[in-house]
């Protein structure tokens, strides 16, 4: 028990005057697939590099499998990393790359060869061992990087935006591959990405980071359905985010008056009468002239055709709403007057994160 657990306790790191990670605490369970999600510069990669030992925290402790490794150099930590640009050794063959860690561990040649073969098989690169790495495609390089990291049977596998350099189709393939690798190995995966779709598709748990802090964490459906802060909502494609005041809040029903005068009903918990909040609605939870307690009159401005659906921009007084309409054909055109409708249950309560430690 405990093998593969990662425990971060009050970890901080800054570069010069820029605080990259600010007092972050996080527990990763053995065998969990945990994703650190956030925009570039949010501290997710720095956090990952601190787990690997490639950066050292200024304060806080890092535990791997219940052992304090804060002061251990990277080569003594039972973790391996798949790097963003793969970092394959250009002077070694595919097999030479996969064998590198085993050689460093002083394994016998007779032990190395079959392990390398098995690792290459696992990533569907059997028979490619003697290729030079510059003869490989992006996806193949990615797989070599995976094989090179998993051949050492790390207690935790760290993946630093491993798919960001691939094109869309390959990225979707690799997504399935990483997911199946996690299932087969049962190793703890800590995965870093700025791609919300990737995070939701792969993870047991998602940690959304912003500005060096954890903004929210939870299972993918939790994060998707109930984003708690304005930042998380924006990052997870909640589009219609408006500031407003809570007019009344009574058990499971609240009325919010937005800054531009819309009166909207919500069933979200936590509203307090009189407070200033943000409210948000996903475009796909809105419709035209349908059912729903919330009705907003507006005029269609323009349409973005997205294949299986269209996105309409609707002018409603001073606000511009984004409404998603499923299907390829539409009877509407720009200039039409419409009524945007949505359920009270679709209106999210969003806050600016409170209790942020002051910036140093």
């Amino acid at each position: 028990m405990g093998r593969g657990a990662v425990s971060l306790r009050g970890v901080s790191k800054s570069f010069g005057t820029v605080a990259a990670v600010r007092d972050v605490s996080l527990e990763v369970a053995p065998g969990e697939f945990l994703t650190l999600l956030g925009p570039s510069g949010c501290g997710k990669t720095t956090l990952l590099r601190m787990i690997a030992g490639l950066e050292s925290p200024e304060s806080g402790r890092i535990l791997l499998s219940e052992r304090d490794v804060t002061d251990d150099p990277p080569h003594r930590r039972p973790v391996n990393t798949v790097f963003q640009h793969y970092a394959l050794f250009p002077h070694r063959t595919v097999a030479g790359n996969v064998a590198f860690g085993l050689e460093m561990a002083g394994r016998a040649r007779a032990d190395i060869v079959p392990r390398v073969e098995r690792a290459l098989e696992m990533v569907r690169l059997s028979g490619m061992g003697s290729r030079r790495v510059d003869q490989l495609s992006g996806g193949q390089r990615q797989r070599v990087a995976l094989a090179r990291a998993v051949v050492l049977e790390p207690e935790v596998l760290l993946l630093d935006e491993p798919m960001s350099a691939l094109d869309r189709k390959l990225r979707e393939e690799m997504r399935a591959e990483v997911k199946s690798l996690h299932r087969r190995l049962g190793t703890t995966f800590v995965f870093v990405t700025h791609d919300q779709e990737e995070a939701l598709a792969l993870s047991d748990r998602v940690v959304v980071m912003n500005d060096g802090l954890i903004e929210q964490m939870g299972s993918p459906p939790e994060i998707y359905d109930v984003p708690r802060t304005r930042f998380v909502a924006e990052f997870l494609a909640v589009r219609n985010i408006l500031p407003g005041d809570v007019q009344s809040a009574d058990g499971g029903a609240a009325v919010v008056r937005t800054e531009n005068g819309l009166m909207l009903r919500s069933r979200a918990a936590g509203f307090v009468a009189g407070e200033r909040v943000w409210v948000g609605v996903r475009p796909e939870r809105m419709g035209f002239d349908g059912a729903g307690e919330n009705r907003v009159a507006g005029v269609l401005e323009d349409r973005l055709f997205l294949g299986d659906r269209s996105e309409w921009h609707v002018r409603a007084g001073a606000d511009l709403l984004t409404v998603s309409e499923p299907g390829t054909s539409t009877g509407r055109q720009a200039g039409d007057a419409v009524t945007v409708t949505f359920e009270a249950a679709a209106l999210l309560r969003l806050v600016e994160p409170a209790l942020r430690p002051p910036r140093p």
């Binding site: 080569h75 790097f83 002077h91 097999a95 030479g96 590198f100 460093m104």
Partner: protein, 282 residues
């Protein structure tokens, strides 16, 4: 002639002309001289034969050649040992904003003639030189620092160091830092990262720098002459003295050719390890 060919010819013609006339022409003259015989007044008689080359193989001269190879090898190794850490620091550790200025400092000695710089070393090393003055000031006995092989090596290393730092810097700067992270992450201790990743990947720079230092050191004559005194003869000074002192142009020319041929032969024999050193396979 296609436009591409015409362009190539136009671009290369000036250099080719210069090389053919000046290098090729003078080499042809020297080759002819090396096969001739010295006349009574220091000229060349056209009395063809290999006698000068046979003379160059006499033990006396082979010893001189061996000493020169030893000096060139020692210079190269010392330059690598001293220059590699400097280049590493410049390329990977020095503040990026200062790098350009620091590189200028590396080549700053070129602004002064090599001869003048060798005289400067004489001022430092001679019996009443600055080093001995300093030693005397703190009550230590004077040392005999000048006119010995160590002084020659010192002068040579000093003179050649920039030639090895620049190619090493170029190859170290290209090294992707993520590769070093990856090596450490895969369990390589710092020494192993150096041996298994950094050195193999900067091998081209090591080879280029070593050749740039080794070849001029082989024929060096200023540092041996000025810092080594007359006791130790190196092939560079030997050739120089054949032309300037002994007035034996044919023998000097033969020595020059033998030296060039030796260097070319050595490079050809070592071509595989020099090229493939980076390809640490599997």
């Amino acid at each position: 002639m296609s436009p591409r060919h015409r362009q190539a010819v136009l671009l290369l013609a000036p250099a080719a002309l210069l090389l053919v006339v000046l290098v090729g022409g003078s080499q042809a003259l020297m080759l002819a001289a090396s096969l001739g015989r010295r006349s009574a007044y220091g000229g060349v008689t056209h009395d063809w034969g290999l006698q000068n080359y046979l003379r160059a193989l006499e033990p006396l001269y082979v010893r001189v050649l061996a000493r020169s190879v030893g000096l060139a090898a020692a210079t190269t190794i010392a330059c690598l040992v001293v220059g590699y850490p400097v280049a590493y620091w410049l390329a990977r550790r020095a503040p990026p904003t200062m790098r350009r200025a620091l590189l200028v400092l590396v080549i700053l000695p070129f602004w002064t003639s090599f001869l003048v710089r060798m005289y400067a070393w004489m001022f430092l090393l001679r019996t009443e030189g600055l080093v001995n003055l300093a030693l005397g000031a703190i009550g230590l006995p004077a040392l005999s620092l000048l006119y010995n092989p160590t002084a020659v090596l010192l002068g040579q290393v000093y003179g050649e160091l920039p030639f090895i730092i620049l190619p090493l810097y170029a190859s170290l700067e290209k090294l992707d830092p993520e590769l070093l992270d990856a090596a450490a992450d895969l369990g390589a201790a710092p020494g192993q990262v150096l041996r298994r990743v950094v050195l193999p990947l900067t091998w081209p720079g090591i080879v280029a720098g070593s050749i740039l230092v080794f070849i001029p050191s082989l024929g060096a004559y200023l540092a041996p002459d000025l810092l080594g005194g007359a006791r130790y003869v190196y092939v560079g000074s030997l050739i120089q003295s054949q032309f300037a002192v002994a007035r034996d142009i044919p023998f000097g020319a033969a020595l020059s050719f033998a030296l060039s041929a030796g260097v070319l032969l050595a490079l050809w024999l070592l071509r595989r390890p020099l090229r493939a050193g980076a390809g640490e396979s599997a």
